[in-house]
């Protein structure tokens, strides 16, 4: 192992840990909240089972507002909220709040798109069997769109990693921030390159897993 990696081993390991925490929480948020939000964006549309012009516009606007904020300003803007939720606005835990919110907005769009590709006939079959909205979602929509949902999540996770690199701003840490602070600002180019290699490996692993899983579960 190159000497510089040994020298910074502790910092590197903890920054990897920070990235995992930040991205992990984002993934959770994407699944627990982004998925429902995206599902509602789909179901509230014209012609869908929960068609509701007003609710759709409101939800759509909310997602757009989050997506409109320059990320840095979103972080700042959310400070009071973060402080309320986490107790502090700095550090890795605090950094997860804006990341999670961005994650929800980001993934919900990809969910909406994946659901739009479910064939109409499948929805009709569900409706004709008397499925409730919940059943339509869980037993039909998610089943039929599952490979798209997994691929979308993969794309989102990789974006979360990219967003997490900006979280140095509030002391979030992480590999990307480490690369920027030590590698870029302190001109340790070799260290920076190693960090980038770690990130490439991480992203490559995630993409590989996502692609493979989505192919395995796609029976269409």
């Amino acid at each position: 192992m190159p000497e510089i990696l040994i020298q910074y081993e502790a910092e590197i390991l903890s920054s990897i840990g920070e990235t995992f925490i930040m991205v992990g929480v984002s993934i959770l948020a994407a699944i627990l909240l982004g998925l429902p939000v995206g599902t509602f964006l789909f179901l509230l549309r014209k012609g869908q089972v929960l068609e509701n012009r007003f609710a759709f516009s409101a939800l759509n606007l909310l997602v757009n507002i989050i997506r409109s904020f320059p990320f840095l300003l979103l972080v700042v803007f959310l400070i009071p909220f973060t402080r309320f939720v986490i107790g502090t606005a700095i550090g890795t835990a605090a950094a997860t709040v804006p990341l999670a919110i961005i994650a929800i907005a980001h993934y919900s769009r990809l969910v909406e798109q994946a659901l739009l590709d479910v064939p109409k006939g499948v929805m009709e079959a569900a409706i004709s069997m008397g499925a409730s909205v919940k059943e339509i979602i869980v037993k039909f929509l998610y089943v039929e769109a599952r490979s798209g949902l997994v691929l979308g999540l993969t794309t989102s996770i990789i974006s979360f990693i990219s967003y997490s690199t900006i979280m140095g701003v509030v002391g979030g840490g992480g590999i990307g921030d480490f690369a920027i602070r030590y590698g870029y600002q302190q001109f340790k180019t070799d260290l920076m390159i190693y960090m980038i290699i770690i990130m490439v490996i991480l992203v490559q692993l995630i993409q590989f897993t996502g692609t493979t899983v989505s192919r395995l579960i796609d029976k269409r």
């Binding site: 006939g121 079959a125 004709s128 008397g130 037993k139 089943v143 039929e144 029976k219």
Partner: protein, 274 residues
């Protein structure tokens, strides 16, 4: 094949025992109209389908048969008119009650509409799940229905791995699974060979006779209509041209060996075996 028919009969008896007494059903359309854009697909149609009847709908391609059928469970919302099932006006029901009502209306779609990411087994099982069919009996019920259509060995396959006829049979099994009280069938045998067709029609007749299920069948095959229906509506350009009462000629069962095809082909005028 006779073995299978026998099975099917046994099975229907089992279902009969399984079910409580259920009233016969009837479907009424009052002056129903449906347009797609400027094109009027159904023009003020009134039609009453009696309890326990097997009602055929026939007509040229594009006459409006599928649309008419889809109006009966409100998959198409009528622009005008009312749809009544068993005295209940579907058009006025709350969405919850409509859902409940739909659980007792089975539907076989012209294009099957199977869930591509569910196995054959799961495609059939899902309708039981939706109707909160007792969990323990689900498996045996699904297998029973798959046996009806001769696909008991196909449980683990996905629709993309099935032939056209196999897909159609899964769709039939799915519609039958939940012991519906009304069965709407859109060309249920269009992809099936004559033997399988006869078999399926036999199952439908049994279901009708033994369980009093009201059946509406859209078909372009004269034999199918003639072989099973009590009354037939002839549709033309979105209007009822005529309604004809007929005496269904009990469908003759044939053995499913390829020999049958050869016999049929060569009957009377054999030229040569190649």
């Amino acid at each position: 094949m006779t073995v299978q028919v026998f099975k099917a009969i046994i099975i229907s008896i089992v279902i009969t025992l399984h079910l409580r007494e259920r009233g016969f059903f009837l479907i009424k359309l009052h002056d129903v109209s449906k347009s797609f854009g400027r094109f009027q697909a159904i023009k003020s149609v009134s039609l009453t389908i009696d309890k326990g009847e097997i009602h055929g709908i026939i007509g040229a391609s594009g006459a409006g048969k599928s649309t008419l059928l889809r109006l009966m469970n409100l998959l198409e919302i009528p622009d005008d008119g009312e749809v009544e099932i068993n005295g209940q006006n579907l058009t006025n029901l709350s969405s919850k009650d409509l859902r409940q009502e739909r659980k007792s209306i089975g539907m076989i779609f012209q294009h099957f509409n199977l869930v591509a990411n569910k196995t054959v087994y799961e495609n059939v099982a899902v309708s039981l799940q939706l109707a909160s069919f007792p969990r323990k009996e689900r498996k045996s019920r699904v297998m029973t229905c798959l046996e009806f259509v001769g696909l008991e060995t196909f449980c683990g396959k996905y629709p993309a791995q099935l032939s056209g006829g196999e897909k159609q049979r899964v769709a039939i099994a799915r519609a039958l699974a939940n012991s519906p009280r009304v069965l709407l069938c859109d060309e249920p045998t269009s992809s099936l060979d004559p033997n399988t067709t006869a078999e399926i029609l036999g199952v439908l007749e049994d279901v009708n006779k033994k369980l009093g299920v009201t059946i509406v069948i859209v078909s372009h095959e004269m034999e199918v209509i003639k072989g099973i229906c009590n009354r037939v509506t002839v549709l033309a350009n979105g209007e009822i041209y005529d309604t004809v009462l007929i005496e269904p000629s009990r469908i003759q069962m044939m053995d499913n060996s390829p020999r049958y095809f050869v016999e049929q082909l060569t009957e009377g005028r054999v030229i040569a075996d190649a």
